[in-house]
Symmetry: C2
Subunit: 281 residues, 2 copies
């Protein structure tokens, strides 16, 4: 692992690292923010998964999360959204291939050689973070759009690995959306039974979530129809799932929306991550 | 004037506008943030001038100022750093021509046709903001690097137009730096007597400032030698100028530095702008 850059930020350090990935078979880049508290103690981790077209950089520079992470003493990890590079399969469309990994393990050619983002984030990068930075084994996860989908699906399928989960305008029902059907058929094939474990509305319906969930959705989101937030809201209500689904009047799909509510999401996770650490077991 | 984009942000609106500029003879783009308070009242204005290579966009997306402006009910204006376009003079170097207007009125060819950034920001854009948005005639000004230079020089030369001034890592003594001598000779010619009114260390030495001044400088700034903060610090001390010059350990020249202290700068300006409005006159 090599350090690409390091900048002091809100008393802590915003670092970008690159490493050879076994899961993806290529070099991967991620960003990690360590709050000032990490100089003298190990801190919990909040994962932020980004949306279509993004790299590790977008939320790191535009989300404003560091101020809040420093306030609470929480580390932030920003993974990339796909493998990248000249030898990695890609597509002309912005929503398939590089920048659009969808947080699945591809099983079809040409994607399966490198597109193993589910394993990459959940196992490989988690291990790297744990082994190389002063963190404790308490993890929250959030994300935006495709990354909100990633956050919800990774948490719902692996409740033992995450203590808290939230999402900003997630792709909430990809098996019923053009943001999902195209990608799942490309990465996983036409057998739709393999898709449902990547649909947070279906996962929540089937399994629920052990804690509470925070979802923020902009009412003026230009991609509202593709996100299908109504599917997730319906399941949350039907399951009597603890949590908050907030429809935010006037907000769209941009980072202006994300940054506006970033503080409340970090507050949410920090409360739950710190509660977890102070409990009896 | 046309609206390029508008996004809801921290309860207010982040808008980007384009307009034909009389000063620069070309189309110019700027960003303005109106806090939620502006829906029912007129608000004071904080100008943010950006540094080399930047457009209106960098601080708007990476500075995190909107959260603080919304807290205080202050509008933010982010001008571009130069005229732009195919017919506008330019140079291969990143620090001359487009993206590097230095907030002066150029008097030499080929620059003088379009490079009138001093007049553009101080008069033309101020008029446009005043005429088109719900603001009061109370203005603070800040900026980063070349924009810190712009903020200080515009305020120091026009104390009747500004109620508060601060800067992040300003180019503090351009008449003695390679960030200054090259540009001032290109834009203004070799008569160095025309340069001194664009050097904040000289201006402060000669005129002082009616109020207090806030300067933040990163101790690990990679451009420290070009910025010459020691010149400004020395003048501030020698003049017994009210204010704060803060050397921030560990911080570099990036937006991670700017965003870390953005809140304290907005607090600073808001206190002075609101004090101004509530005074007897």
């Amino acid at each position: 692992m090599k350090v690409v850059s390091e900048n002091r930020c809100f008393g802590g350090a915003q670092t970008v690292c690159a490493h050879r990935s076994d899961s993806c078979g290529t070099e991967m880049t991620f960003a990690i923010y360590l709050p000032p508290q990490a100089e003298s103690a190990r801190v919990p981790v909040l994962w932020y998964l980004s949306g279509l077209t993004c790299t590790h950089e977008n939320a790191m520079t535009k989300g404003g999360f560091q101020a809040h992470a420093a306030r609470h003493g929480v580390a932030l990890v920003f993974p990339d959204t796909s493998p990248r590079g000249a030898g990695v399969a890609d597509d002309q469309a912005y929503d398939l291939g590089q920048g659009a990994g969808f947080y699945v393990n591809a099983t079809r050619d040409p994607w399966r050689a490198n597109y193993q983002m589910y394993d990459y984030v959940l196992s490989e990068l988690r291990g790297i973070v744990t082994d190389n930075f002063p963190v404790i084994d308490r993890h929250g996860i959030t994300g935006h759009s495709m990354g909100g989908h990633g956050a919800l699906t990774l948490a719902l399928r692996n409740p033992e690995l995450f203590d808290s989960v939230s999402a900003f305008a997630p792709i909430a029902n990809p098996t019923r959306s053009d943001w999902g059907r195209k990608q799942l058929s490309e990465y996983l094939g036409d057998d739709e039974s393999t898709w449902s474990c990547h649909d947070s509305s279906i996962l929540l319906e089937e399994h629920g979530w052990k804690g509470d969930i925070l979802i923020d959705q902009g009412a003026d989101d230009q991609f509202f129809d593709l996100l299908r937030p109504e599917a997730l809201a319906q399941v949350m209500a039907r399951r009597r799932q603890s949590g908050l689904f907030r429809m935010q009047a006037g907000y769209d799909h941009s980072y202006y929306f994300v940054s506006t509510f970033a503080g409340e999401h970090v507050d949410w996770h920090a409360t739950r991550l710190n509660k977890a650490t102070s409990g009896p077991g």
